[in-house]
Amino acid sequence: MMNRKLIVMMAALCAALLISGCWNRRELNDIAIVAAIGIDKRENGYLVTIQAVDPGEVASRQSDSGRPPVTTYYATGGSVIEAIRKMTTITPRKPYFAHLRILVIGEEMARSGIADILDVFSRDQEARTDFYIVAANGQEAREVLNVLTPLEKIPAGKMYKSLEVTERSWAPTVAVQLDELLRNLVDKGRDPVLTGIQTWGHESAKSAGTNSDKMDAPLDLKYRGIGVLKGDKLIGWLNLIESKGFSDITNRLQSTVIETDCPSGGKMTLEIIRSRSKIKGRLKDGRPEIDVYTKAEANVAEVSCRMKLMELGSIAELERKAEDVMKSNAEQAVSKAKRLGSDIFGFGEAVHRANPRYWNRVKDDWDKHFKQIPVRLHIHVQIKRVGTVGDSFMLQMKKSSGIMSSP
């Protein structure tokens, strides 16, 4: 009796195995790994460009056949996914999006609204949420994706890593992932931002293939500026100083470099090694107010003046100067955002946290209120270390031909 049950069960199992086959099975050489995708605006829809990896060229030690490590394909379609499927008429394999690194949105596309194209990325099962989204600064996404980069075989990889590294050590860039972007689009108390990317170098050497042969690459990719969005449309860019200020206020600042003047002339550079900011909203006399508290630790990084660092009081002076610089950066960022009318810092969120009832009243035209909200910055910089030497060697140099006398 028991044996019979067993046999029937085994037979059913085998039948199930044979009938269903193996769906979803893809061999590694049936997929085209898409590392970057770019979307531009066209008349009846979108132009989608994908950067697919050629594994044979990437992984081998010598790229013998002279083919570039990535290939770009593009197609137009009424919706993003239609364009992607249309691309299969050109691609030899089906595009595989699970390892997507970068989504580049062309400037024109961003200015006309990004909400429509983002749905497919959040809905599709294959796409994950760990890729970064950037906007092309003054260019089309297709141009950006067509650039081969030195040192990093897959340009999308370079874009990805570069963005992370810059955010960590230079500050005026933000690495935005899909979930954050969607959250900011939905949240009324905060407007989204996107880092800007552009090609940089000589226009003449644009075509793929010539770049990787030279040491000083004629064309490369560079991050520049932070794009401010209002709603889902790009409306403007923050410049370098404003971007730094933005990073500072939104607690994204991890490490950056601040240049200040020495008291007796000359320049001095400090390296911020740690920074934390808190935004506190408050309601005073029925009006919202914002206080931003920043605490930063810094090291003395580069000294190009004859200043006696080890004197008592000189460090404190430097700290004050650094605070001034940071404050000025932040103020410029705030005023630019107010001019553009977009609350990219999340002040609305802070007010919401402080007084939800008030927020419920004003949230629908927060942009108006945002333009007039007073923002006070409280910045405290503490210099921890001065590196491995105390006073610079320059102090002991002979006072000769005015090297250091420039103001």
């Binding site: 067993l6 195995l17 269903s20 086959g21 193996c22 979803n24 099975r25 893809r26 061999e27 590694l28 050489n29 997929i31 790994i33 590392a35 990896v53 594994p55 044979g56 990437v58 992984a59 081998s60 595989y96 699970a98 390892h99 690194r101 294959e126 994950r128 897959i154 990889g157």
Partner: protein, 509 residues
């Protein structure tokens, strides 16, 4: 008197001639059965015959102690004759007075006679006596106690069982000198009449298990037992499973350790492999060396062994499942590297994996039978060169070769060969599941595997104890090994009596 040519259950004849003729008729003219007729006593008035098997009997003993006394000292014989009435019969008297041999048993019928004769005893028959004697003269050439061939250790005894039952039981007795070590013998196999000894510690082993062992042994009805494997197959639990439920070993120290835990050992004459029941899953993963090194090292090595088992079982399946179904789980740079390797290869990953695994199994089997001189060379050639060549020819991808070799090496981590065999089969099954259904299939396979393992029993004891019925007290010797001082109880499901090993529970310092 008519000579009977069949059914040797007949009693011995009083006439010597008849006996000898019967023997000749029953055994044919085998050249190694020697019949020696002598005349003993004063003036040789008594006729006697000595029957023994050349090659199985100790001729020195026969010559110096049986024949010497009987033939060269007639006074001894006459003394025996005079004492005949008090000893019962003449032949009994001879046994008591004239035969200087350490063991003598009476033989009354032909079956016993052949039994003893073919075991190496010397049969003494006397004219006029309807009873014979069997003198214990067993001796033959044996391999001797050598180093273990399969289960070698770095530290520990290097004695292994030999093919003679008596030698093996002595090796066990040397290690456990307690009177509670009971060794009972049975004869199994209608034609081979193999001696099988069952050893257990009376005051530790569970009575039910011992009874069960004997009852299963007695149920065996087969013409020949050539190796303990025959016994193993006939007494193991009925379930359909690739996993062994009887443990085997060629080391007496392992057997002694198992006996101390309350298990029952079965020794079979003619093979150095002893069986131990009941066998648990953990028995096949433990090595005797774990107890000969320090506890901390042993624990780490044991954990390493478990890791090796997981690798040996799951690595190819995981590789197939992830690279064909779940590419999103691989880090991008690794994915690109793997994709590059698969660029030129014609076969899907599953076919590649199966081909390489089968090739490896073939190499392994071939290596077993190769002459010792060229064996290692060919296996190195086989694996390295062929694997390398296959990769360069673009038939398989390099990653697959790595996976298969790692699996193969990890599979040598098993101390026990029988378990390794079970896993070899399972690996292919899991690869098939992984290739069809990805990780889902693999998970289902693992699920069924665990269910199956937990449902097994070995002589009534759950196979996966101490993991399956979770006994905290038994954990001290399962995944890790606690220092000896702390191992103060025996496994609770095996030893029903006499749980405590150490005198006192460990004191905290």
């Amino acid at each position: 008197m008519a000579v009977e040519t069949d059914a040797p259950v007949h009693k011995l004849y009083a006439d010597l001639r008849d006996n000898l003729r019967q023997i000749e008729a029953d055994m044919g003219k085998s050249g190694d059965i020697v019949l020696r007729e002598v005349s003993i006593g004063t003036a040789g008035r008594y006729s006697m015959a000595l029957v023994y098997t050349d090659g199985l009997a100790d001729k020195t003993l026969i010559n110096d102690h049986i024949l010497e006394g009987l033939m060269n000292e007639p006074a001894l014989v006459e003394e025996a004759v005079q004492n005949a009435p008090s000893s019962g019969s003449l032949i009994q008297a001879l046994s008591r007075h004239a035969l200087a041999v350490d063991s003598i048993d009476p033989v009354g019928d032909f079956e016993t006679l052949y039994d003893r004769l073919l075991s190496g005893d010397a049969i003494i028959l006397m004219d006029g006596q309807a009873e014979g004697l069997a003198a214990g003269t067993r001796a033959w050439k044996e391999r001797g106690v050598t180093e273990p061939s399969v289960e070698s250790v770095i530290r520990g005894p290097r004695e292994a069982f030999s093919e003679t039952l008596r030698t093996n039981t002595s090796l066990i007795r040397r290690r456990i000198k307690d009177r509670n070590l009971w060794i009972e013998t049975r004869r199994i196999g209608r034609l081979t009449k193999t001696d099988v000894a069952v050893a257990y510690l009376k005051n530790v082993a569970s009575e039910e298990i011992v009874e069960e062992v004997f009852s299963r042994l007695d149920r065996i009805d087969i013409d020949g037992i050539l190796e303990s494997a025959y016994i193993e197959e006939m007494i193991q639990d009925e379930s359909v499973t690739p996993f062994p439920t009887v443990y085997n070993t060629e080391r007496p120290d392992v057997v002694a350790a198992e006996l101390l835990e309350g298990k029952v050992a079965i020794l079979v004459d003619g093979t150095p492999i002893a069986l131990v029941v009941p066998a648990l899953f953990v028995s096949f993963i433990h090595a005797s060396e774990d107890y000969y090194h320090r506890a901390d090292v042993s624990t780490l090595v044991r954990i390493l062994r478990y890791a090796g088992i997981l690798i040996a079982l799951f690595l190819p399946s995981l590789y197939i499942a992830i690279t064909t179904f779940h590419q999103e789980m691989i880090p991008t740079t690794l994915l690109i590297s793997l994709a590059q390797q698969r660029e030129g290869t014609p076969f899907p990953a599953f076919i590649e994996a199966v081909t390489m695994e089968v090739a490896f199994e073939i190499l392994r089997e071939a290596g077993l039978r190769m002459p010792r001189t060229i064996g290692p060379a060919v296996s190195i050639v086989g694996t390295l060169v062929i694997g390398q060549a296959a990769v360069e020819a673009g038939i398989v991808s390099a990653a697959m070769v790595i996976v298969v070799s790692t699996t193969a090496i990890a599979s040598f981590v098993f101390p026990s060969y029988s378990l390794a065999n079970a896993f070899r089969m399972l690996r292919f099954l899991l690869m098939g599941l992984a290739a069809s259904f990805g990780l889902v299939g693999l998970t289902v396979g693992v699920f069924f595997l665990i269910m199956h393992l937990c449902s097994l029993r070995s002589f009534g004891v759950p196979y996966m104890s101490p993991f399956a019925p979770w006994k905290p007290a038994d954990q001290k010797d399962a995944l890790f090994r606690l220092p000896i001082r702390r191992m103060f109880t025996r496994p609770s499901l095996i030893a029903r009596q006499n749980r405590r090993r150490l005198r006192h529970a460990p004191r905290k310092r």
